[in-house]
Subunit: 417 residues, 2 copies
């Protein structure tokens, strides 16, 4: 279907005036023969306000009730936008996640879309309705309302785009697109015109904070994503496979002649307040990792990077990182499990940070890693740990060095140009 | 089922503190072996706030969208109360109108319940859940969300009570019960201990403003209603058939030994700002009433009392009352239809008011009407028009005499004792 899916975030629908503005833009584009389907988040801070009410009642409110509560936010914004469209003569209807057939599993608060029964959506489009669908929500097999987690409206939008084979999914937000680094720290961070899906997965936190699952979905179903501001007419950031760009230009979906990103490094990311834990001399045999990480998982501790050294006399060191806030809980859990894990000692430190350079195929291209490490060395930043993936090289450094390193690396890789 | 249905109105669930208080009371009663199912309205002014948002977008927002929008208010309050119950150890679940199987017709904004598919409700009760059901809402055959009109949560509660053959439906509100007259005008109006359904239909506006359809439903399915305050422990007003009272006392559903109301007049009502319209000398033949009232209905004018005088030479006078606010529209509509209706002239006047005495079987009992008219005459209030029904005698008088008449009639019929 030659359909454009547009997702408007909470800030974009944050007031009645903004909702009216979106209706006007939609009308303009429909008059110019565009077919549009809209997915909305809840208005402004309303999700936080609902959450605050729940937290006044319980520190850990029942998740099934919480999902049902939260789903009301998107119902409110979708009905209001539909009314605004009808008010200016555009035939429209809002649909809840349930009415739109967004079938999910039962993991309340983090439900995953399992399928979209799009019969009703297609039917309503055929009737000439410009649909406004409540994002972030779905329903499970017991007709319980579920939510997809914070930012889940992005995933709703991309999933609907995939289900309807839409030509593009536009994500409207309060920033101009995706940046080479966090613009709050790196003042001369540049907005990227184009980005591969893989890089987007790593850079999603800069500028538009997109729901990671929405990017994975877009990548899997090859839905071009355009992240742009709802406040101005500027082109945003296009996320797609680079060999699809020409096709999108031909179809008129993107206007500018985006040249493929010559620089393999598309951005630099950093994240602070990380603790590093090392278990010294644990027995190097099958099942040992499970013995370490299962009790941590049960305690709700999120483990990030894991590095295991080469074995020495059937003993090995296991190092991993966690959030600083989980430090005490982690140490306590590990001490409780000491007889089972049989480590010799725990070495631990707080206040680390991660810095990463991101770029498709970066690891296979020579020179990037060396240039990265060299840059850190030249500004006297010590590297505590290194991990890599196909599209990312990450160094663990001291928290206090993080901003300095970020600015220098951003400059050295020419991202400010 | 030996079940108590409790409906809490908007003021009763108007804050997190009030919701917690309801949870505590529910827990106390459950520990004392009561089985309870709760129906809630939206919190405090939230319905008005949602309506205000819609009105900022459109003066006449699409009713289908409006119903979906409004339904979110009761979802919010029901989930919060369910969380509050769980927080203090009561197993609970909230259900939307859809999940509770509240099947309605498609008259958005004023939908009527057609049936309740109570499978899920019964199932959840069997699992040990104290249910909190979102009032005011249902769904139609196309899975669209509908609302039952202002005050509709009362109807939800009584309909569920009927469907589950509950032993009683308690309506919790911000007043102590039903009064002999509007306590804002008649300061010594008395709270009634007991009231027949029929009288309740007329007096529903005093104190607890109950949804009229909920009372009709209660009457039809013989569900005893208790209207009481959520702020104190006082007994409220019991509405049932008088021969069911003994039974209810035996079952422990009502505590006090309510003696059947000896006074046939259970209350006095008044309503101001009414216009009186008389069409002089219209042809007295079949179909003439339709010719008058159909165009008025199309214009959205609500006609109240209608009186037709005895025919004279095949001509008759037709008198009816409307709201003062519809006066201009009514005159304009009638003038437009003058050739069809063939009236000789229109006599009209604004600023009338209705005063009524209410009581089951009042019309068949001698003396009440005479005493009523005599009372008005003694205080020099002129009667413009009289209408009666089985349980009501109504006089149209001047607006300015309304309060004076109300106080005197209330006193003469001994309602302040």
């Amino acid at each position: 279907m030659d359909l454009i899916i547009r997702k408007y975030g909470g800030t974009s629908v944050g007031s009645i005036e903004k909702i009216k503005k979106i209706a006007q833009k939609t009308k303009y584009d429909i008059k110019n023969n565009k077919k549009i389907l809209i997915v909305v988040s809840a208005m402004g801070n309303s999700t936080d306000e609902l959450l605050e009410k729940a937290n006044q009642i319980s520190k850990s409110p029942n998740q099934r009730e919480l999902d049902l509560l939260m789903s009301s936010g998107e119902i409110i914004s979708s009905t209001l936008l539909s009314m605004a469209l009808q008010e200016i003569g555009i035939q429209s209807k809002s649909l809840t996640g349930f009415q739109a057939g967004i079938d999910t599993n039962s993991t309340y608060g983090q439900a995953e879309i399992q399928s979209i029964n799009n019969d009703r959506i297609i039917n309503e489009i055929k009737k000439g309705n410009t649909l406004v669908i409540a994002g972030f929500q779905g329903f499970n097999e017991n007709l319980e309302i579920t939510t997809l987690g914070r930012g889940g409206s992005d995933t709703t939008a991309v999933a609907i785009a995939a289900s309807l084979k839409a030509s593009v999914c536009e994500i409207y937000t309060d920033v101009k697109g995706i940046y080479t680094a966090d613009p709050r720290i790196v003042k001369n961070a540049k907005k990227l015109d184009f980005l591969a899906y893989e890089d987007m997965l790593e850079l999603a936190n800069f500028g538009a904070k997109m729901h990671p699952r929405s990017i994975e979905l877009g990548m899997y179903y090859k839905i071009p994503l355009i992240i742009k501001s709802s406040n101005d007419q500027e082109e945003g950031t296009l996320v797609c496979n680079s060999n699809d760009i020409k096709n999108l230009i031909n179809k008129g979906i993107i206007m500018n002649n985006i040249t493929e990103n010559r620089n393999r490094v598309s951005g630099v990311t950093s994240e602070g307040n990380i603790s590093k834990i090392t278990l010294k001399n644990i027995p190097d045999k099958p099942g040992i990792a499970a013995k370490v990480f299962e009790p941590l998982s049960v305690s709700g501790i999120n483990v990030d990077v894991i590095v295991q050294n080469i074995s020495n006399k059937n003993k090995t060191d296991l190092t991993f990182t966690i959030d600083d806030k989980d430090f005490d809980k982690t140490i306590k859990t590990l001490e409780k499990e000491s007889l089972k894990i049989k480590y010799e000692s725990i070495m631990s430190g707080k206040d680390y940070g991660k810095i990463s350079i991101i770029g498709s195929g970066i690891q296979n291209a020579p020179g990037y890693a060396a240039k990265f490490f060299d840059t850190l060395s030249k500004i006297n930043v010590n590297i505590e740990m290194i991990t890599t993936s196909d599209i990312r090289i990450t160094c663990l450094i001291k928290n206090e060095d993080l901003d300095k390193a970020l600015l220098k690396v951003h400059e050295v890789f020419g991202l400010d140009k």
